[in-house]
Symmetry: C2
Subunit: 199 residues, 2 copies
Amino acid sequence: MTMAKKTTKRRQNDTTLPMRDFPLNRAFTFFEPGPVLLVVTSLNGRHNVMTASWTMSLGFTPIIGVSLGPWNHSYETLFETGECVLSIPAADMMEAAVGIGNCSGDRINKFKNFHLTPLQGQKVAAPLIAESLANVECIVREKPSNNGLYLFILEGVKAWYNPDREEKRTFHAKGDGTFIIDGETIDLRHKMTKWEDCI
Amino acid sequence: MTMAKKTTKRRQNDTTLPMRDFPLNRAFTFFEPGPVLLVVTSLNGRHNVMTASWTMSLGFTPIIGVSLGPWNHSYETLFETGECVLSIPAADMMEAAVGIGNCSGDRINKFKNFHLTPLQGQKVAAPLIAESLANVECIVREKPSNNGLYLFILEGVKAWYNPDREEKRTFHAKGDGTFIIDGETIDLRHKMTKWEDCI
C-alpha cells in the first residue's frame, strides 16, 4: 500500500501565509498612484514575471490598463491564457523589480533567480508573489487593438493584501532608470466633496 | 489717429516667462511615474482645467492615455477641439488640484478661482499653466471607443518645463482622498542594461 503523496502546493487560503483578502472594489487604490507593477503569468505550469510601469486605473471594478508588447516574453502568455496576476512590489523589492525588467523569461526562471515565492491564488493559474505588498488576480477583458499601443485591458477578480508588511511604500519609475519612492501621505478627504463615494 | 492696442496676451516665447523648451521625446518621463495631472482645455477663448489621475504613458512620442468621462465638463471640449494641455502640478499645488477636481467648469472660472496663470503655448489653443512644473501640448490621437472606459489617447506635440521651480516634487492620488508626495529618488541606471536607449 502506498500513501497518497500530500500536495506541497502552497495555497493562499492557508492562514500561515501572508496574503489576506482585500475588498475587490477598493483594489483600484493599488493602481491609481501609478506604482511599478509586476505582471505574473503562467503557461503549462511554468511561471513568469515581468516589470511594468506603463499602467493605469480605468475603473473601480477594478479595471486596469497595462501596455506590454510582443517583445516581452509575457505578451504571448497573457494573450493566450487571458489571465495574470498584477503584483505590487514594496520599495525593498526595487532592485529585484529592475533586475526582473532587464532579463527575459525565455532564458531565466525569474521566480528562482530573484527569490520570489509563488503562492496559488483562487481564480487564475498565475501565482501570487508572497513577498509583494498586494496581488490582484486578473482576467483579460480586451486584448490590444491594432493601433500599435499594445494595451491590454484587465479586470481584477480577486484581491489580496499583506497587512503585516513593515515596508508599505511603493515606488514609481521615471522612465530614465531612476525611481521615486513614496514619501509623505497627505489626507485631503475632507476636501473630496464631489467624490464622497470613493473615500 | 488711434494707436493700435498692444496685445497683452502672454506668449511663452517671452523669455521673462517661466516655461522653457523641453525635449519632446523625453516628455514621457513626466507621465511614467503616474503623478496627478491637470488637463487644460479651451473652447471659444474660454479656458477650463480639470484634475486627472487615471492616466498612463503609452509611448515615447510621447503618447499618453487619459480617462475622463461625459460627466466631466472638459470631456465635450476635448472631444470637440481634439486638443489640450497636460500640466504637471508640483506638490505645493496639491490643495488647488484637489479643489479643481471637486468643482465644475460649467459654473466656475477655475483659472481665476484657483489663481492659475494661463500662458499661450505654440501648438494648441489651450493654455499652459505658468505655476506648474511642466506642460505638454497635446492633440487627440484616438477618441474613446464604445467600451465604457472613456479613454482618450493623446499625442504630445510640444513640451515645456520650468527648470527654476524650487519645489520639484509631484504627487500621486491614492483614489481615497489621500495623496502621496514624491520621496527619495534612487538612481539605478547602471542596472538598466536592456533599456539603455531610455536612460
